[in-house]
Symmetry: C2
Subunit: 452 residues, 2 copies
Amino acid sequence: MRRKLFLIGGLFLVSGLAAQTTDEAFIRKMADEVLVNGKAYDNLRTLTKTIGGRLAGSPQMYKAEDWGYNLLQQSGSQHTFKQECMVPHWVRGGKDQATALLPDHSKKELDVLALGNSLGTGEKGVSAPVLLVNSFEELEQKKDQVKGRIVFYNYHFNPKFVRTFAAYADAVKYRVMGASAAAKYGAVAVIVRSMSHSTDNNPHTGAMRYDSAYKKIPAVAIGLKDADWLAGQKNSTVTLKTMAHFLPDVKGHNIVGELKGSQFPDEYITIGGHLDSWDVNEGAQDDGAGIVQTIEVLRALKALGYQPKHTLRFVLFANEENGTRGGAAYADAAIKNNEKHLFALETDAGGFTPRGFGFTGPEAQLKKLKSWAPLLEPYGAGEISAGGGGSDISALHEKLKTPMSELLPDSQRYFDLHHARNDVFEAVNKRELELGAVNIAALIYLIDQYGL
Amino acid sequence: MRRKLFLIGGLFLVSGLAAQTTDEAFIRKMADEVLVNGKAYDNLRTLTKTIGGRLAGSPQMYKAEDWGYNLLQQSGSQHTFKQECMVPHWVRGGKDQATALLPDHSKKELDVLALGNSLGTGEKGVSAPVLLVNSFEELEQKKDQVKGRIVFYNYHFNPKFVRTFAAYADAVKYRVMGASAAAKYGAVAVIVRSMSHSTDNNPHTGAMRYDSAYKKIPAVAIGLKDADWLAGQKNSTVTLKTMAHFLPDVKGHNIVGELKGSQFPDEYITIGGHLDSWDVNEGAQDDGAGIVQTIEVLRALKALGYQPKHTLRFVLFANEENGTRGGAAYADAAIKNNEKHLFALETDAGGFTPRGFGFTGPEAQLKKLKSWAPLLEPYGAGEISAGGGGSDISALHEKLKTPMSELLPDSQRYFDLHHARNDVFEAVNKRELELGAVNIAALIYLIDQYGL
């Protein structure tokens, strides 16, 4: 259908027809290259299975940096470099434990994970009665009952949002700010219902932030089945033990590859994902997928002998998960070096079947992107919408006003595994992953050819 | 983006605005009902885990019929009935076996599955040298070498087709017609490369057909890893043992539920999937998903107190996989009873995230469907394209000219598990499944309200 519409459109735009046909043919060649000879899936297997989780500061972070550097070079980067940045070094420090004790003296182990950047209970743990609240509003209503308790935020991921990122945006405040909100009223720890639609019991960790005005209390995520169970208990007491703590910041790096621009070598187009992941999984969908897609775009362009007009930067960002120091360092370097950044794109929503791109920038540029939708539709990503970008490129957008985009894959499965133990290689489908790379390559090609 | 466009459109179509707002609101209510209270996933668990594979003629077929009948009644069917049809009773008869023997006397077990409707080798098996052909053209070129050999069709599923059903349409002839094409030149059996993009070694069975002009030789599907291995061997001999055979036809049934039309009780709208599956798996995506979506549409409409104008038929078709006798019986009954069928929709492409609907019928009706795309886009299925329908409803289309549609979910994962052992409940995502039901319910609602 869409294809037919496009061709009919072409008849009325004779001057545009030749250009569209050339673009269509080149994008088709890129798609064939990725779908037939693609390396993204094999590269992801290596990253996830031989390196695994690679949180900022971990030994695996350095292994992943070296892997990424070498792979960018092998994939055709003409200039590969490491861009230093200090990164936080948060460690889990051991197995997170939670045990519920009921009034009848029965006990139940709960599956929890300390939230990223949280401080642990230490060896002796924390035991306290549980106070269930379903929202911040309910916390306020019950503020007189909070002191000395473990607050259990049982806010549900809202299934009515068709796009699951909207449910995440709605719920994530409990993970990020819940600890300090409860500490304000004297809570001794918090348990946060995982941000997920999953049908299993995996807890989903993720970054939290302390408000320095209040005591820094321990904070854990709990799996959905255990959350439902705990919400059904009256007068439960929970004992938490988490050993999470910070070590001193260490040197991390963005890993950058380049294809030099033939006409505008000093104008940059950035494509990137983040190399770090949480420590409890393989970081396959988050964001191993984005990393290998970024490298696959480079490989495919190079394999086809494409000479970009602008300099294309392929960036494996450091420390997205619990600091975004990599993204900040990239923007700072751009400012320091007086670089002109035409466009930046991030792929960090999973390697699922692509559906479109989000764009944050001037309306006229959005319109231009939308005019290319017929060229992307055959590969799935024809839905061009306003908004979106990425954690790593948002500093560039904020500081240099660089227009930014993000790949928008189908979102239904993402929060089944986001920041949970099951975000492993096996959760990624080869072709879905590859189609993401195809559509990114197509959009980058069009922007490189025609500007914004 | 699409939402915004729709609203802008509404401003210029004031007369249409109220109607669209009502429709939009009702579709939103149906979506909420399915996404919050949906039973499709739990129903699928029961069908797959307590009944499992349910090939025509098997004891599980009868269990599934009873399960479906009861569930339609529980879900609000006002008139539930079984529609009898004789179905084939093909049985695998044991474990399919294949062993390759190489010139150096080494052996390798190959993972194969007898093709559906094929006749087995019998206890003593068949041993013969392998003749590799990559296509029917190559078979013709090598026809003098075929006699006494096992022909190995190694035709690859083409990764260049973005929509995988196109790759299937391209490759499936080797499965369906390969045996007789090879028997014509004296082959003693055929091995067919599985129709799949999968990264595992599961063989994918599926129906084949003998041309009665030639000897009915055994036929098996082989997994992709073993196919690649076998293609790399010179002068291999394979011993096949398969026990597949037909038992006499037995009575099977389409299971039908109805919601009576308030204005046009004698005009029917059919929604259906097929209740049978292959014997080697749980038939979760193919087509347990379509079955539970069909029943979920009924449940949701009923839960919202919807009174249809036309009579809605919810049909669990018998024997799609190796006979389509259920679909034929449904059309025959429609003719016999002089029924007027306004529209038929089939869901048999998996319970993956919906992307659109295919439609086969008059151009003006296709245009009408396309005009509803903005109402479907928020739920993912806004891509309305020409073509498509379903095996079970095609008899209705052919004999009564009933316009027909099919739900078009994302197709990337379907052929990873289609007709293979891994088509199990765990391969289905709850929300993807539910969103299919949401979009079917929306389209059925619109057709019921406004006709075609």
